[in-house]
Symmetry: C2
Subunit: 127 residues, 2 copies
DNA sequence: TTGATAGTGATTACCTTTTATCAATATAGC
DNA sequence: GCTATATTGATAAAAGGTAATCACTATCAA
């Protein structure tokens, strides 16, 4: 049978952090933010919770090339990301140009999904 | 002064492998292919050569999220990649929809460049 | 309140990719 | 051919991120 899940301050703090963000976070970011609520929180618990939240379908993994996986709520719908080269933060984008993408692939190639990442300077860093 | 470079069978074999490919290769792929020409080739030499070729501007790095860096000739011009989920290979794409991308970013965000990755099944794997 | 046990935190172990080491070898100028 | 030294290959070891361990703690049904 499935393992009985218990509600803990740690998991709640982690979920709250993920709820309040505008983009995907690194495990370390989550740890640093959630520790404000639960000072004793260990990094291992962050990894464990992320794993559980992923299995439960509440959180998904976002990967920027060359960087460690980030995590965000999975109920945001289809979207892509912007990576600020200045501060390193990743932001969610609202729109998608997926329509034009299908015909990028050569004949015989079946496109099932895609990833778009914009790079540049975020609002805070460019002002 | 700059270090004197010498021509070796190893470097030539690595460059030849990179010249003949249709997409970026993993260091391990390069090693496996180049070893046909120079059987004694060690993986360390592949890494060293890739580093040198990058510094010389002849080779650039391509990263697919969640995977190790791949390498390809840097004279291919602007293009993107297709990752086959079946065989794992990465292929170059010829076209780009960069035009529509600028307005994906919110106001205040400066987009300097972008990455597009298509996922699916390549021609060989889908037939 | 109590007890069974899921969860935690500190730490260690791990895994994969990449780099450093170093003796041996190959290159290129003379 | 000879020599100085750049390069190589096998190996060890680093680096970064993640998972396993284990004694202790917290949760929650009874």
């Amino acid at each position: 049978m499935a393992i009985e899940r218990r509600t803990t301050r740690q998991k709640e703090a982690i979920k709250t952090v993920l709820d309040e963000q505008k983009g995907p976070l690194l495990p370390d970011d989550i740890h640093r933010l959630a520790i404000k609520t639960v000072p004793s929180l260990g990094i291992a618990t962050v990894y464990r919770s992320l794993k559980n939240l992923q299995e439960e379908g509440l959180v998904c993994c976002v990967e920027i090339p060359g960087q460690a996986p980030r995590y965000e709520r999975s109920d945001k719908g289809h979207h892509h990301h912007f990576h600020c080269r200045d501060c390193g933060q990743v932001f969610d984008l609202q729109k998608c140009v997926a329509g034009g993408l299908k015909n990028l692939a050569p004949a015989g190639f079946e496109v099932t999904d895609h990833e778009i990442i914009l790079y540049g300077t975020c609002k805070a860093c460019s002002s």
